[in-house]
Symmetry: D2
Subunit: 344 residues, 4 copies
């Protein structure tokens, strides 16, 4: 079987693994108080062109989201996000588990707009009894979104502007950030993201690391005592250096971006083939995830050789599946898939 | 000003107040371990025709909802309810504050159907990774609903049946239960509710008591250690007898139902007048809350004399307001309102 | 049976009940947005000689404690208190239920010292890995304490000074505050407490009200959005005016202090009798609670007529019981008890 | 510098690292649904001689403890443990963060006794108002304890017996389980632990793995929906196979036990040297952690070459430090340390 179901089917990029091996028997301090994490932190500040950023490394995405949100919000505050947002649908209520309501906004393409945020905020403060409803205090977006779409710089600026106006935190889940930043048409970069968001994370698990997410905090209010919260929520890795080593390796010479681009290019090839066959898409995704509508028969045929994620039933005869490439996707497998897609 | 904005503008029915006065200097045990609570418990069991029911008294509705739900659910479990459900929109995230997601279902009339519940449950268990999403474990309904509509016996039986099939708890918020049970067209009673729901509460705050809700639990799994949870969540009233005294007084001779009926009749009079004037309603409510669409001009005119709840803007010139009667509504005020409504 | 087991065996002082009756059918806004609450708030500010105080009314003590603490602390922060503190032993883990550790300090007399607080704080910040331990952020005291002792002005000033030095909040649980303020030897008053504590509450449940606690917040950081937290935790009383009416009645002419003094005087009479009989006390309490060590035989004999709280076994033949007077204690019952105590 | 401060200063045992490398580009299912985890699970069942055990793999110890405890307890229930227990002092209130009180028992040697547990339980149920206090429902022990001591089979049997009697769960934190099982005088093994405890974990982070803890659940009540809780608490590793690969490698040929024994032997050598020099110990530890009291001068001298953990000040001139060996400790470093200890 060939896996196109997600972007975490393999281990790590060989360079990352080598870096872990090379340092294996070095003795170092625990919990991220080591030189590798320190180097990786400085490198991320350099890439974001802001030496005041506060950087911590965590193991996984749900952990990162819940830790940041639990750290930022008071009990009566909630987080606005798209209905399809990862924190709303794929984290088993991790945010509610920390006591906070996820306040959903409808979205056809996985994105939310500054206008939606403004309206939600105003609806809250203008109602007769605001204290009877959850106070919106944070905006959560993911880039790319759950369905592979990306925010433009203008869209992010508008969100940041509304958030600033109403005292909301803007937080970007970057589980697949590399795939977004290397996508065709993208005009965001680490620097602009770091300056527009109060916090965001650079995803490693899905882009070349064994595991790991680098959370980057620019808002001073969100830095205070953040490591206490990491520890309390179970996210402080004893051998924290494993995270520093991986991020340093991924980011020091642009490896992170090269392998991200590879995944996007592989996805584009598949997308072209699907378009040739006149299949339609849930949304137009420029990143490594394609949500395509196909006849069940065709899906069944392809499933003899390939693993996909089943997304949802469209009608009696058609379903939407997710085809996902990654840093590790082999071109030969993509070509084989394309042949099988185009086979009548 | 005359208040038609809600059903808790006055204190208590005089009989209730007299009962509190008459027993004022009697010494009794605290926390509900007194003879008044005991009598009220037995009376409720009698009215529900089930001596195995477990009855506790709490002070308010949000407190009752959060206590019952926190007691019943494990951390990964959520509660299904209508988007307009009180726990979803008017309790400042009290349920999420206890760690549980509120899983919303769309509803035009404030009610949810057994089919919706079944579909939501199946969607959960049939998805690829159920453990990544919140597990539905309880169904929350209110009767009457937030918009004044009521469940029929058949609808409740269907809900109970689906809940039983899938191991879900069925819980009814009865903040205005009396108004529902005395509504035209209602075919439910305490006995049928107690036998169909795993738990429900008989609302006192909005129907003649100074404060107080009587929670009635039939499912043995929900009885265990329930008072520990009441205490932990801050709901165990030191002078618990105040709750027992009030519920005994309200229920011993049917006062609760008489005053509920009064409110429904008053609302119906107003409804008839509104219909005469061709105003339209959000839904067709047979209980003490009317959600009526009126020109802003007319609302402004009436607002010189009456308080209503503003619900939402309908279009440029019209808004929906809530007109609410109660056990304490004076007929003369209703007649005056009707005159003013009908005044051209 | 005559009850000396606690100070909430009866209803309310007659004046309080009358005030509730007199206003019963007045229509007013809900949730504390009424004129009675407003008057009571202004009166409390006057009594504390500080017009900037923020005052809210809640129903019970556990509710008040958990709401204030949940509102004030971030997830990794804990509250220092005496091992015997109410929040540590008598609230079913209400504080932990809101996510916060209670950090206990040993105490023989129910009080904690500024030196203990300082040491606990320093131990935290000076340890190798502070982020692995709970951060002390609040000091909880009760006055009178659980065993009836009271803080001197000097002791409270010292606590306040250490708290200020280290950025800790100082919070006083005043469930029995009146009994403390009227005790022999007391040199605190509402003004000094309001100026030294970041927050405290004036207990009504145990001193003449049907129920109710008035929380008084002086630290601006603790005022923000406090009502949201009250609502979320289930403590926002629909007919909030009941609380305002009661506190206004209790405080407008000093009734609160007169009836508190009565309880202290009654307790002192009993204490004198017990001393005459050479019984020993757990601590020397000047307030309405006496913890006295008695032979089990004598306890059994008295228990035919009187209810006490059993506190703990002292040795094979002796136990410590709590004898509690209140605003409602009748002098004739005290005299009868004294006779029976002194009977050989 | 040579590190004797803890047992997680290096990466992983070479075999473990090789196993990760060898499988790096294999594609597999995520979240522990892979063949490596499956093999490791079966192996653990074999080693425990019980095919009904439920095994899951998590990344770290605090995460494991909080996940198991949050999954097992209802809101009003707490966990009994030694005052020095890891969950009480070194997890930033992770358990309280999940809503549960840690109920501490005094302990001089890090262990608690069945008699202490029984007494604590009885104190709870026999008090006048059990529902006002936290209900003990679980007993948490660590083996070895925080100070390196171990439980005998008899002691564990007694604890299990009391837990069974009162319906308490018995849970063993095995962060350093290997070091305990290979200690001189130990008479426990995986089989007996699995049969006596409701749940325990086999620690990997501190014994040869890059990271990872294998939680083993025997009580069916604790198995249900456990993976939902892992996910909600942020502990479900996307590339879960990394955990399965490591545990399989460590356990398949006894490597885990060999390297554990090495650490114990190294510690014993140091202990012998310390005893020769007449230094005293906090407790008599047969495992890889030694808590030794030394003159500050001597500590300062050794600290030029070695890192230790400073534990606490003993008196003006002496302190207690922790010397810790591990699976990775080099014998030459131990010998050098011994020479320096014995140097006058």
């Amino acid at each position: 079987m060939i896996y196109f179901n997600c972007d975490y089917n393999e281990g790590a990029h060989q360079n990352v693994l080598d870096a872990i091996s090379d340092t294996n028997m070095v003795q170092s301090a625990g919990y991220g108080h080591d030189e590798y994490c320190e180097k990786a932190r400085r490198l991320i500040c350099d890439l974001c062109k802001n030496q005041e950023l506060y950087v911590q490394f965590l193991v996984g995405g749900t952990q990162t989201n819940l830790t940041l949100i639990a750290s930022a919000l008071r009990p009566h505050q909630g987080v606005l996000c798209a209905e399809s947002g990862h924190i709303n649908v794929h984290e088993t209520g991790a945010i509610e588990g920390c006591g906070h309501k996820v306040l959903t906004l409808p979205s056809a393409d996985g994105k939310i707009t500054s206008r939606q945020v403004e309206k939600a905020y105003q609806l809250h403060v203008e109602c007769d009894t605001p204290e009877h409803t959850v106070q919106p205090k944070m905006v959560y977006i993911s880039n790319p979104t759950e369905v592979g779409t990306i925010y433009s710089k203008k869209e992010l600026e508008d969100l940041a502007s509304v958030c600033k106006k109403y005292g909301l935190y803007l937080y970007m889940d970057g589980a697949r950030l590399g795939y977004g930043l290397m996508a065709k048409g993208n005009d965001l970069d680490l620097e602009s993201i770091a300056s527009l968001c109060d916090a965001f994370y650079i995803g490693g698990t899905k882009i070349g690391a064994l595991f790991g997410e680098a959370i980057v905090i620019s808002n001073p209010a969100l830095k205070e005592d953040f490591r206490y919260i990491i520890k309390q929520k179970g996210g402080l890795l004893a051998k924290g250096r494993l995270l520093g080593i991986q991020f340093y390796e991924l980011l020091k010479d642009g490896l992170y971006f090269q392998i991200s681009e590879h995944a996007d290019v592989m996805a584009e090839k598949i997308k072209d083939a699907l378009q040739t066959m006149d299949y339609s898409f849930l949304v137009d995704s420029p990143t490594n995830q394609l949500f395509v509508v196909m006849p069940d028969e065709k899906i069944a045929e392809l499933s003899h050789t390939y693993f996909f994620s089943y997304d949802h039933r469209v009608d009696e005869k058609n379903s939407c599946i997710r085809i996902c490439t990654s840093w590790a996707t082999k071109e030969e497998n993509v070509e084989r898939l394309i042949q099988d897609i185009c086979k009548e």
